[in-house]
């Protein structure tokens, strides 16, 4: 980052290459759409480039990066809410959005091994469970899980106290556990996923 600050273009390209996938993953799980996640990641890199002269050597780059990412994600969620497009994560997204779960499972049953079908179902269930958390809980959880950040680092990135992060993560994981418990214990789909499946089946029934 220090080289980027000194206007080294190659260093900036390296930085984008190194962090883009991680940022897109975080955003995809925050806003629910791959294309939007990529737009937001680009927005973050643009902000970093514009603010490069203000970067100080003492601060950890990833903490700075995810602070910007958190602000960009919050703004995006606010504008989504204004456009009444909330709860995107609870819905299917990306490639999955075009193919609802039941459809996919039916289609896949002839082509894929059972293990892969289970994997798709699990991914959908976890995504739905994540969608039921609030923005802060989700962000803290993603930073903890995929970035391996400590409470201190998450607190700096989200501009909250360490004790607030401790409580936030605890509530997030308890919520997640409660939502996923029926699936883990008895293989029962969580309500939100069940509703999606039922509505899809109804639509398909109506069409036929």
């Amino acid at each position: 980052m220090l080289q980027v600050r000194d206007d080294n273009a190659a260093a900036f390209e390296e930085l984008v290459s190194r962090y883009q996938a991680r940022l897109v993953s975080i955003f995809e799980n925050m806003v629910g759409r791959r294309s939007m996640a990529e737009d937001l990641a680009q927005e973050v890199f643009l902000r970093i480039y514009r603010a490069r002269k203000r970067y100080t050597a003492g601060s950890r780059f990833s903490t700075w990066l995810y602070r910007i990412a958190h602000n960009v994600a919050s703004n995006a969620r606010r504008s989504l809410a204004r456009r009444k497009e909330v709860n995107l994560v609870a819905q299917s997204h990306g490639e999955l959005s075009a193919q609802p779960l039941t459809h996919m499972v039916k289609e896949a049953s002839g082509l894929m091994p059972t293990r892969q079908i289970d994997q798709i179902e699990r991914a959908e269930i976890v995504r739905a469970a994540m969608g039921s958390l609030n923005d802060r809980q989700r962000m803290a959880l993603l930073l903890s899980k995929f970035e391996g950040m400590s409470y201190e680092e998450i607190a700096q990135s989200m501009e909250l106290s360490v004790s607030a992060i401790k409580s936030l993560l605890s509530r997030a994981r308890v919520n997640l556990k409660d939502i996923l418990a029926p699936y883990i214990q008895e293989g029962i789909l969580p309500e939100s996923v069940g509703e999606t499946l039922n509505s899809t089946e109804d639509e398909e029934g109506g069409e036929s």
Binding site: A9, F12, E13, V16, S17, Q20, A21, R22, V24, S25, E28, N29, R34, A37, E38, A41, Q42, F45, L46, Y49, R50, G94, Q119, R122, A123, I125, V126, R127, A129, M130, L141, S144, K145, F146, S150, Y151, K166, S167, L169, S170, R171, R173, V174, L176, K177, L180, A181, I184
Partner: protein, 178 residues
């Protein structure tokens, strides 16, 4: 309502607070965020309390399921498009900045600033000259005005002038200062 019914909500609240604290401890333990002593306390309780152990397992299982979430892969095309996007934006910003500070425009702004300052200065000076005349006269006569009651008692002005020349007022002034 019986006393048992009254106590129930407060007990439930207390239980939920204890449960929250337990959850925080368990999550912090799983995240490796507890100090040695707290970790030992949690481990001791885990070995003694099956329910506590079950909660830990459930939290861990839910955490492990997060591995199923989609993760993006590194994409060279996306890197290129991001760098191009940022470069384009930086160029636009530079062009806008240059447009704003280009020589002709800068000169015009400077002239406007000078004229505004001159007009403000002139206006202030004229206003002060026109409206300040009365005030200046009062300031000039302030000494006489402040002693006006005493001057009125004296009928001859020449007598006062003679007293001043003889130094009487100087002596009085000196004794007052003492």
């Amino acid at each position: 309502m019986s006393s048992q019914d009254k106590e129930r909500p407060s007990n439930e609240l207390l239980n939920s607070e204890v449960s929250d604290q337990d959850s925080q401890q368990l999550v912090a333990y799983l995240d490796g965020e507890l100090d040695d002593q707290s970790s030992r306390d949690v481990e001791r309780r885990l070995s003694d309390d099956p329910e506590f152990r079950l909660r830990l397992q459930q939290l861990q299982q839910a955490w492990d399921l997060l591995d199923e979430l989609p993760l993006a892969n590194r994409d060279e095309a996306f890197t290129r498009s991001t760098v191009e996007f940022v470069t384009l934006n930086a160029r636009q910003q530079l062009a806008e900045t240059k447009q704003w500070i280009k020589p002709g425009k800068g000169k015009t702004i400077l002239w406007r600033l000078v004229i505004t300052l001159l007009a403000t200065g002139l206006g202030w000076w004229l206003g002060d000259w026109y409206f300040g005349q009365g005030h200046r006269e009062i300031l000039r006569d302030i000494e006489v005005i402040s002693e006006f009651d005493q001057y009125r008692l004296t009928e001859e002005f020449e007598f006062l002038e003679k007293l001043e020349q003889s130094g009487v007022f100087d002596k009085e002034g000196a004794s007052d200062e003492e």
